[in-house]
Amino acid sequence: MNKLSKILSSSILAVALSGVGIGAAQADSVKIGFVTTLTTPAAVIGEDMKDAVNLAIEHIGGKMGNLDVDLIMEDDGFKPDIGKQKTDKLVKQDDVDFVAGYIWSHVLLASMKSVLDSGKFLVSANAGPSKIAGKLCHQNFFSTSWQNDQTPMAMGEHLSKQGVKSLYVMAPNYAAGKDMVAGVEKTFTGEIVGKDFTKWGADAQLDFSAELAKAKSSGAEGIFVFYPGKAGGAFIKQYQQSGLQDVLPLYTVFTVDAIALPKLQGGNLAGVMGSKNTQFWSPDLDVAANKKFVGDFLAKHDRYPSFYAAQAYDSIMLINSAVEATGGNLEDKDAVRAAMKAANYDSIRGKYTYGNNHMPIQNFYLREVVEDDAGRWTTKIVDTVYTNHQDPYAADCAL
């Protein structure tokens, strides 16, 4: 073997061996992998979640029971196959005990098999596609969020109660967008006079001029939209610039959140004030754990946490409750599972239970956009639409 090949093969070996060092497990710690999006524009969500996870770990003093918390953050880059690769790394190389996170349905769908096949626990801190709530449900999968349909169903319910007769509907053209529209259609008793699915993905459509013009001419009594992330801010702006707030009241889900509101306030887009949306949670929800979470988050980052952050915070707390309940014996999977299923911890949404499919059975509230005492725009609960609501797919789950 000549010199060059020696150099090359020894460097390959060196790389391989260095990996052994990274992968060596520490016996007295609980390892948690957290997969979220830290690059691309969606990083704004990922960073909110990261801040909440760090706050949660701070709140529990860096320990779960008597075990140290070893947190490994991974960036899925908004791509399903990268998400899967990072998940594989967490499962196989880092040998984590829990994998949590996942903003996007497609990343979760791509990654879930890796986690569940290895017998580890998967906690979704956001994505809740109907497949996982139904046919694909798994005993080791838990959600600290909601199933996609529930929130818009609550909105549809509210609108019907209010006597709104016609609605224009807009959402991005991907699975969650369609779930949201399907959800509102399930419970809204009036007529849906128009529907637009706009282009989504890496080059999502952000200029809604054509759709807003259609909505306006449709003569609907209200407009229902679902635009997560940066598209939400863009939508609200154009909604106001087209002067629709006077003729077409705005009803949203997952659009007007703590990520969009500061920017809307920065742009002085008062058209959003007073608009209604539904959610399982709100920063002002009167629950002790929530007060602590929101208060400390505000103090630390000078902004309200978003619902993504709240769910991420809860995912850590749920894991914490299971580790404590089992006395740190993570080998006893059945005990861990039972402890998680009990959801016996102080959730930021208050006490909730798990259905057979391990999706939360929880309340849904109607919220209004208001200004808080410090002059910050936020949301306030004005009504409870559903109490202990279970998602419609639970029946499809064989568990």
Binding site: L38, I82, Q85
Partner: protein, 326 residues
């Protein structure tokens, strides 16, 4: 030709090491490395197929990821209807990618240079949006593939090691095919047309037909890589065939060294390695830099073109006395 030079010997050693990879990774108890390698080798097949038209044929395609997607959907869609027969998957992959390459190639091969780049982009975007609009097959969210393609037991894909050897075998075959192809009569026409198409025509070659055939072969090879990718990730979504993915494939080819047999393999390995470990490296420098790994990546890309002619293969070859790159 292969082991005749120092770099050739390095590659021979590399191939042997790759062949033993499952044993090595299980010996050092790092099964994740096998996953990483599997992904790298699948992408290496795709990049090698791109290299056939780009490196040897001078056809810069910014739409090659479409074939990765087509191959993967040829596993995903039958699986959706509970058809898991591997031969059907493979047959469908070959037929669909060949037909797509042929039909689009009829138009694509009439264009040159930057127009070629743009028209390949156009067709791949059409495929991308087609799959986005196919609600039945998951649309944007994609399809989960519950079971791998089923082959007779001696050819089974079940288990990480078996799948790895499938991929490894496919890669070796692909490299062999390309190697033989490039030096065959057919390959000479392709190489000649890259540098001087007019002259090739005046020598009596209907270059359009030969280039079209080459484009179809490349599409089929990449389709097979896609079929393996579908089996490996157990998941397929349109995102995997966006134009940035095609850009990444070009990057892998060039990083490794275009128009060298092992360039794409080296390039993809380096790419997958960087993608996995650059964030970790950034994190060790400063914990909050985790998300900034695109920065050194971009700088590397710029430097590679400005200063690193011939890619990694190029600089390995500089150790050779005569240098076999061409």
């Amino acid at each position: 030709m292969l082991p005749a030079s120092n770099s050739g010997r390095v590659y021979a050693v590399l191939l042997i090491l790759l062949g033993m990879a499952p044993f090595i990774t299980s010996w050092i108890d790092q099964p994740f490395y096998l996953d990483l390698l599997s992904r790298a080798l699948i992408l290496a097949i795709a990049a090698s197929s791109l290299n056939l038209i780009l490196g040897y044929g001078g056809m810069v395609s910014l739409g090659h990821a479409a074939y990765l997607g087509i191959g993967a959907y040829c596993v995903g869609i039958p699986a959706y209807y509970d058809i898991y027969n591997g031969w059907i998957h493979l047959g469908l992959t070959i037929v669909v990618s060949a037909s797509f390459a042929f039909l689009t190639g009829l138009i694509i091969l009439r264009t040159k240079a930057v127009y070629f780049i743009m028209i390949t982009l156009a067709f791949s975007q059409m495929v991308y949006f087609t799959f986005v609009s196919l609600e039945e097959y998951g649309g944007d969210d994609g399809l989960v593939i519950y079971l791998r393609s089923e082959f007779p037991s001696w050819l089974s894909m079940e288990g990480a090691t078996a799948l790895y050897y499938w991929i490894f075998g496919a890669l070796v075959l692909t490299l062999l095919v390309i190697y033989r192809l490039v030096y065959s009569r057919f390959g000479r026409v392709i190489v000649g047309s890259k540098f001087n198409e007019e002259r090739m025509q005046s020598l009596g070659f209907n270059t359009y037909r030969y280039r079209l055939t080459c484009y179809v072969i490349s599409g089929v090879l990449c389709g097979i890589a896609g079929m393996l990718l579908g089996n490996f990730t157990s998941f397929i979504s349109p995102e995997m065939m966006g134009w940035t993915r095609s850009g990444e494939l070009i990057f892998m080819v060039v990083m490794g060294g275009a128009s060298s047999f092992f360039g794409p393999l080296i390039g993809t390995s380096a790419f997958v390695f960087l993608e996995q470990y650059l964030p970790e490296i950034m994190k060790t420098i400063n914990p909050s830099w985790h998300e900034y790994w695109h920065l050194p990546f971009g700088v590397l890309l710029v430097c590679l073109v400005l200063f690193g002619k011939g890619g990694i293969h190029g600089w390995l070859s500089r150790f050779d006395k005569d240098g076999d790159v061409k």
